[in-house]
């Protein structure tokens, strides 16, 4: 037979893109999905894409979800690739989560506390029964919300801190690192570790956090507090000398209170695990706090034996954009390498025969 080398890569790519666009749109008997609908009605997806895409912009996240047909890792990737090209105008001041405008706040360690427990918009006590009324366009009853402003809500670790029962929060004086600008180096400091976890894949962080509860690096966690709500973002332009409010973010913060530590000279204190992410992402924030605490094993003089305690392992494998790219690159042609393996194996089999 006459062999003609495969050509037409360009054409194949164009055709694939056209097919994809058609499939994304779906059957045109249904109205096109608007970005606003995604933003409003698929809020948890938007939150996850903002968190893993490392960019707080609900509209762009919704657009990415639409473009990616709801594939949230693909959507986070679109956001990341866009984010890289954005100029950095300023760095914000640290946000003050103690002053958060709370929508949800629960503590597992005190029955009641100043500000109380606020359930907020949670799935926690929903019975997981499919709600067939959602098949139709059901009107939603208006949610009742307390007309009274909530009282101030001190953070639980701050309450424990007043008695010295928990280790003080180490506030680093130096500017935090940014692993989107500088490559990771080891030992990686906690600021960079937290950044990696906040951007990391929810499933991976969840699995690692879970593993610590099953004996792989456990640290007896209590959910000291989980809070979700809006915080103000401020920048302090050098030429002004004072800070200005540039907008709000919705954040979820989790502070785990972990096994105490002490010695003959230092009285025992609880230790901290911290989680903070964009949007409403309680599962991720809690997992993050568990893994953060696990990665502090070395610093706290504990044995480093479990995967979640191995900083290098966690940081090199938590990013789903890196992971998906490299796993999926195996579908690219590797026939040159495979051919060399093939010839090698044939040769070795000959010399063995």
């Amino acid at each position: 037979m006459a062999y003609v080398a495969v050509k037409g890569g360009e054409k194949a790519i164009d055709n694939a893109h056209a097919w994809l666009a058609r499939e994304r749109r779906g059957d045109t008997v249904h109205p096109v999905l608007s970005v606003a609908q995604i933003e409003e009605q698929l809020g948890r997806s938007v939150d996850r894409v903002m968190a893993e895409g490392s960019l707080y912009d609900r509209e762009l996240a919704a657009l990415a979800i639409k473009q990616a047909q709801g594939d949230l890792i693909e959507a986070a990737f679109l956001i990341r690739a866009y984010r890289t090209t954005l100029p950095r105008f300023a760095h914000s001041r640290p946000v003050e989560t103690a002053a958060m405008r709370i929508e949800r706040r629960v503590s597992a360690v005190f029955k009641d506390l100043p500000g109380g427990q606020v359930l907020g918009p949670t799935y926690d006590y929903t019975h997981r029964l499919l709600d067939f009324s959602l098949l139709d366009d059901e009107a939603v009853a208006p949610a009742t919300r307390s007309p009274h402003p909530l009282e101030p809500m001190p953070r639980v670790p701050d309450i424990l801190g007043q008695e010295g029962l928990i280790e003080p929060d180490t506030s680093a004086e130096q500017e935090p690192g940014d692993l989107t600008r500088e490559p990771l180096t080891f030992p990686a400091d906690r600021d960079v570790r937290l950044q990696a976890l906040a951007r990391g894949d929810e499933g991976f962080i969840l699995g690692l956090g879970y593993s610590t509860q099953r004996g792989y690096g456990g640290s007896h966690p209590f959910a000291g507090e989980i809070r979700m709500g809006e915080v103000s973002v401020e920048i302090e332009p050098a030429e002004l000398g004072f800070s200005i409010d540039i907008g709000d973010l919705v954040l979820t913060e989790c502070q785990m209170v972990n096994q105490f530590k002490g010695s003959k000279t230092v009285p025992p204190q609880f230790t901290r695990g911290y989680g903070l992410i964009f949007g409403f992402g309680e599962r991720k924030a809690m997992s993050m706090a568990l893994v953060d605490r696990a990665m502090r094993a070395g610093e706290l003089g504990e044995d480093v034996t479990a995967p979640a305690q191995n900083i290098e392992f966690v940081l090199y494998h938590s990013d789903n954009i890196e992971a998906t790219g490299f796993v999926e690159h195996l579908k690219l042609p590797h026939y040159v390498d495979f051919q060399s393996e093939l010839q090698n194996v044939r040769r070795m089999r000959e010399s063995a025969a």
Binding site: Y3, A5, E10, F77, E322, Y335, V336, D337, S340
Partner: protein, 288 residues
């Protein structure tokens, strides 16, 4: 392209990569960490090579992109389009016409010249990663030039198989100092790296490292005196152009053991056929 800088990367990022490249050239074979950016193509698909190419490319460059030696594999097409779109540079499939060649898994058969630069896409820059998974540890080994682990691996290969079993991504020593991954090129290509007239740059985007080999630099494939380095290739001439000295792809032609061996370097093969060389399975070139 509207809304984006020349060659996609912003100038600040290019400067950072350029500084890294200069250090990489000054320390041949040493992996220089860099602030790899998220590119609009997936990690593992050439983001390191693309960032290096974007940082060196100028309006007068002529770019060739190959994957598996071929200009028309889909990922090569995609990367070539990316630069045609973002940098507006001229592209070519002819090795001789290119000033910059970005490659995945091959070195062209035609000897490269002093006025050319070859940019390799690298999935895993650490030559020791299969033997030691911790980068903290391998960094220490490179610092001390302690490559005992690799020698032990090769020695164990010989005692198990009677020969070194690595057939691609075959480790090399650069300038007698650093153990280096040549990227997953077939061992067949390793000798081309030694004393190459062209500058060789390597980019690993996901692993965030770049490295380099200046022109006319010693690159030695690891071996032992009684087990010298050997290249591996299919024992056939190219079915299309009859070449006996080029690296061959194996094409399955039927379900009864039928095979065709053809040049992996499509430009090399096309050039030979245009010059009248015909292999046993070839035919005079017809129009597309």
């Amino acid at each position: 392209m509207k809304g984006y800088n020349f060659a996609y990367l912003d100038e600040q990022t290019k400067r950072m990569i350029r500084r890294g490249l200069l250090k990489a050239v000054a320390i041949p074979g040493h992996q220089v960490p860099f602030g790899s950016r998220e590119m609009p193509l997936p990690y593992g698909w050439g983001t390191g090579g693309i960032q290096v190419t974007a940082s060196i490319l100028g309006a007068n460059d002529v770019l060739k992109v190959i994957d598996q030696g071929a200009d028309d594999t889909t990922n090569a097409v995609s990367i070539r389009r990316f630069f045609a779109r973002t940098a507006g540079v001229a592209t070519t499939t002819a090795t001789a016409e290119a000033t910059v060649i970005q490659t995945r898994h091959r070195i062209p058969e035609k000897q490269l010249r002093e006025d050319q630069i070859i940019v390799y896409q690298v999935p895993q820059p650490e030559p020791l990663f299969r033997l030691e998974s911790s980068r903290v540890e391998t960094k220490r080994m490179h610092g001390l030039s302690d490559y005992g682990l690799m020698h032990v691996k090769l020695y164990e290969d010989i005692s198990r198989f009677g020969q070194i079993s690595i057939s691609y991504d075959y480790p090399v020593m650069v300038n007698e100092r650093y153990l280096m991954s040549p990227s997953p090129i077939p061992a067949f290509d390793n000798p081309k790296m030694d004393m190459m007239p062209a500058l060789q740059l390597f980019g690993a985007g996901r692993e965030k490292r770049i490295y380099a080999i200046p022109p006319w630099t010693r690159v030695k494939s690891l071996d032992f005196e009684d087990h010298p380095f050997r290249t591996i290739n299919a024992p056939h001439p190219c079915g299309l152009c009859g070449a006996t000295d080029s690296y061959l792809d194996e094409v399955v032609t039927d379900n009864h053991g039928g095979r065709l061996f053809v040049c992996s370097d499509t430009d090399h093969c096309a050039e030979r056929r245009a010059a009248g060389h015909v292999g046993t399975d070839g035919f005079q070139e017809a129009a597309e």
